[in-house]
């Protein structure tokens, strides 16, 4: 099936993106983010979860957390391309919230068919969720999960669970007697212990979650197939978040080098500063174009979705690394301080760069698709 020329990004999608941009600009400017998450600079501080729960509730009330839930399950059923527009704006604001996790769980649940419907109804009712499937070594292959389902309950630990402390529900991949299953349960259920990680990124929380015989509902007995079909959208939306965040890094840095003067000129006059920032822009644009292409493939060309999503996340990961490095370096001494907002995005982007696979991880899988497995 061929893709529509405009990525299927129509009027409704444009409107959603524009209102999201406006919403975050009005309600969550960077100084508010800084005040919210950077009050304590102590590098030894214990893990914390800092977020604006009231503002999140507004997102829920706007229906933004159920955009990807199909209409049949009480949601909005918006295409991935439109959701990507919203997530790009969320990334631009670096808004701490469980939206990405909730969307990721949504796509996985949709891929579960009938088994996922009750869980999708929870999300449509405004509950936040996140995926729990990674092992202690950060292996992105869900078959490497350390969680096991036996005797009707979950056992073992899921690592690197994103925004875990903000979530109502967990979607867990666990090995079963017959393969791998996906399981849905409340984050506060009996037998679930959330152990928060002390992380660098101030705009997220992360945890490893211990399951000691926690009862859970099996939503799919074939987790690997369901996740395989959900991963392209998950990677693409994270890449969209990174594109938005990088645009903030770029514009903030451009503004700084346009005003700060050295040697009688604004820094941006010098090509040693100007050209790398142009390179950041060029990389952002390629990643952004690849994001909407991948999103559109998720919507209209499923057989190409994984291939294009690998491209988008690989490009976004490398782009984000470069945007991070130039944003701090071009700010000079001030960029090295806690008071400058640049570090908030630096840390979010470095986290995103690795999350769900870095550039070389995605390129290795892309090569297997395009070239064929290496002999």
């Amino acid at each position: 099936m061929a893709q529509p020329n405009n990525y299927g990004f129509g009027e409704e999608a444009a409107l959603l993106k524009e209102s999201a941009r406006k919403f975050f600009r009005e309600h969550f400017p960077a100084d508010k983010l800084h005040a919210l998450v950077a009050a304590d600079h102590n590098p030894d501080r214990p893990p914390v979860c800092q977020w604006d729960r009231e503002l999140w509730q507004q997102l829920v009330d706007l229906g933004w957390t159920m955009l990807a839930v199909p209409e049949s399950a009480g949601g909005v059923g918006m295409p991935v391309a439109a959701v990507a527009g919203l997530v790009e704006e969320l990334g631009r604001a670096a808004f701490p919230c469980p939206l990405l996790g909730t969307l990721s769980a949504t796509y996985a649940l949709v891929a579960c068919g009938a088994g996922g419907e009750a869980a999708l109804a929870d999300i449509a009712a405004g509950e936040a969720a996140t995926l729990a499937l990674t092992n202690q070594h950060g292996d992105w292959n869900p078959a490497a999960t350390e969680v096991e389902y036996r005797d009707g309950a979950l056992h073992g630990t899921a690592w690197f669970v994103q925004d875990a402390a903000k979530c109502d529900k967990l979607l867990v991949c666990a090995s079963t007697a017959s393969g791998f299953g996906l399981f849905w349960l409340p984050a506060g259920a009996q037998g679930v212990t959330l152990e928060a990680d002390a992380i660098v990124d101030l705009t997220r929380d992360q945890a490893h979650i211990r399951f000691d015989g926690a009862a859970a509902t099996e939503v799919s007995g074939n987790a690997l197939t369901a996740l395989d079909s959900a991963f392209p959208a998950i990677w693409t939306l994270l890449a969209a978040d990174m594109v938005g965040a990088a645009e903030w890094q770029l514009q903030t840095t451009v503004e700084y080098v346009g005003t700060r003067k050295q040697f009688d000129h604004p820094l941006g006059f010098f090509q040693a500063i100007k050209h790398p920032l142009v390179e950041v822009m060029v990389q952002i644009d390629a990643a952004k174009s690849l994001v909407y292409n991948a999103a559109c493939a998720c919507d209209t060309e499923q057989e190409k979705a994984a291939q294009y999503a690998h491209m988008a996340k690989a490009a976004a990961s490398d782009m984000a690394a470069y945007a991070c490095s130039r944003s701090v370096q071009s700010h000079g001494g001030i960029g090295f301080t806690w008071e400058c907002h640049v570090h908030l995005y630096f840390k979010r982007q470095k986290h995103s760069q690795m999350l769900w696979g870095d550039g070389s991880w995605h390129r290795a899988r892309l090569a297997d698709i395009v070239i064929g497995a290496a002999a």
Partner: protein, 412 residues
């Protein structure tokens, strides 16, 4: 590509597409009897030129070139149809069009800035390829600093007398006409420039000398042009006196693929050199190139590099697609002004990667019977520097992007 676009066609475009497709099926030229160069800028022999000129003339006569220009100047009088013809010519894998500077740069500039009678005089033979055009911008002292042009035109009644020296002039040895940036006032750098079209072939030995320059690849196709009291009629001045810089921007905008008028494009015909155009060619090369006990395509580092290349190519393709989706653009020129920079640098990294895949065999050049792909990859890699240097170097492109799009202060 062609099927995908077909679904978005206006009625006029749809009808024209069918026509183009049928015409190409019946009239696409057969295999060339000469070795064709990798691009029009490397045309070396009259045999290569006449084969390609015959193709351009037949395509023009059929209405596939200049489609969107008005009938009065030799165009087809259609709306947004050049893009359709281009898609169909590329899909049909035709030879490329030889009059590349004429079509891509001279035609839009003449169309927007010349007098009506000059348009009608020059454009039909430009479109048909009977008159090859070249561009006289660069000089020994005016490369990236283009406004430093010194070739001088002095007014004598209704004539101008031109003296000076242009360099790096592709196709001048075949050209009938040249678009040229001249100094008409020595006291103002930018406002002292004026833009003309001047005859070349008709003036050889009578004020114009064309001398070949040999390129890094050993190929010709490149020239310097000396003007010694060449007389030019004032009617061949484009736009007002002193407006040369502004007119030159029309040329450069179209050269960099960011102009209003679609440039007629054809190509894709299978020949030895057509293998050097995308990462899929390098992937094929890697599959058949032995490295150690296996194939180069099994080497994890080369696999990573080939995927980086593939992703860059897809990124550029998607940029072009996104540039037509206004809701996904922050700045109207942001993607368009990246085209030239990206296309040239991607071609360069492709060539570089191919040489790495070939390993020691990349030392073998065109005449070597053991050279992989007939030695085309070292040739393509060296030629890619023409792309990153001509039409504003990559460094100049980054200045333009930094200043016009990011709004950074102008660099010296």
């Amino acid at each position: 590509m062609s099927e995908e676009s077909a679904r978005k066609d206006t009625p006029e475009q749809a009808e024209f597409r069918t026509y183009c497709r049928q015409w190409l099926q019946a009239n696409k030229p057969g295999e060339p009897t000469v070795r064709l160069p990798q691009s029009p800028l490397e045309i070396m022999t009259p045999e290569q030129l006449s084969y390609l000129q015959a193709w351009q003339k037949s395509a023009y006569d059929a209405g596939l070139i200049g489609c969107d220009y008005p009938v009065e100047v030799g165009g087809g009088g259609r709306k947004d149809c050049q893009k359709v013809a281009n898609e169909e010519m590329l899909a049909a894998r035709t030879p490329f069009l030889p009059n590349v500077i004429g079509l891509g740069m001279a035609a839009p500039t003449v169309f927007y800035h010349a007098r009506e009678e000059v348009k009608a005089e020059l454009l039909p033979r430009l479109f048909s390829g009977e008159d090859i055009w070249c561009q006289g911008f660069s000089e020994p002292g005016a490369g990236s600093d283009l406004a430093n042009v010194q070739t001088f035109a002095e007014r004598k009644g209704d004539k101008w007398v031109v003296n000076g020296h242009k360099v790096w002039t592709s196709l001048a040895h075949f050209a009938e006409w040249m678009i040229i940036l001249l100094r008409t006032d020595k006291s103002h750098k930018y406002d002292g420039l004026s833009y003309f079209v001047v005859p070349i072939r008709a003036a050889l030995g009578k004020g114009v000398t064309v001398r070949p320059l040999i390129k890094i690849t050993g190929e010709t196709g490149f020239n310097e042009v000396i003007f010694d009291n060449l007389e030019v009629d004032d009617r061949y001045r484009l736009d007002e006196l002193g407006k040369g810089w502004q007119v030159a921007m029309t040329t450069l905008l179209h050269e960099r693929g960011a102009g209003e008028l679609q440039t007629p494009r054809a190509g894709g015909m299978k020949n030895k050199s057509s293998h050097t155009i995308s990462s899929s060619a390098v992937i094929d090369l890697a599959k058949t190139t032995r490295r150690g006990a296996g194939a180069a395509a099994d080497d994890p580092i080369l696999r990573d590099k080939m995927m980086q290349q593939l992703i860059r190519e897809e990124g550029l393709k998607q940029n072009q697609r996104r540039s037509r989706v206004p809701a996904l653009l922050d700045h109207p020129m942001r993607l368009l002004l990246q085209n030239k920079l990206l296309a040239s640098e991607i071609a360069q990294s492709l060539g570089s990667l191919a040489l790495e895949v070939e390993g020691m065999s990349s030392s073998l050049y065109l005449a070597d019977p053991n050279a992989p792909a007939g030695g085309q990859w070292p040739l393509a890699y060296m030629n890619s520097y023409g792309m990153t240097i001509a039409a504003g170097t990559s460094e100049v492109q980054r200045n333009i992007l930094g200043e016009r799009v990011l709004g950074l202060p102008k660099s010296k």
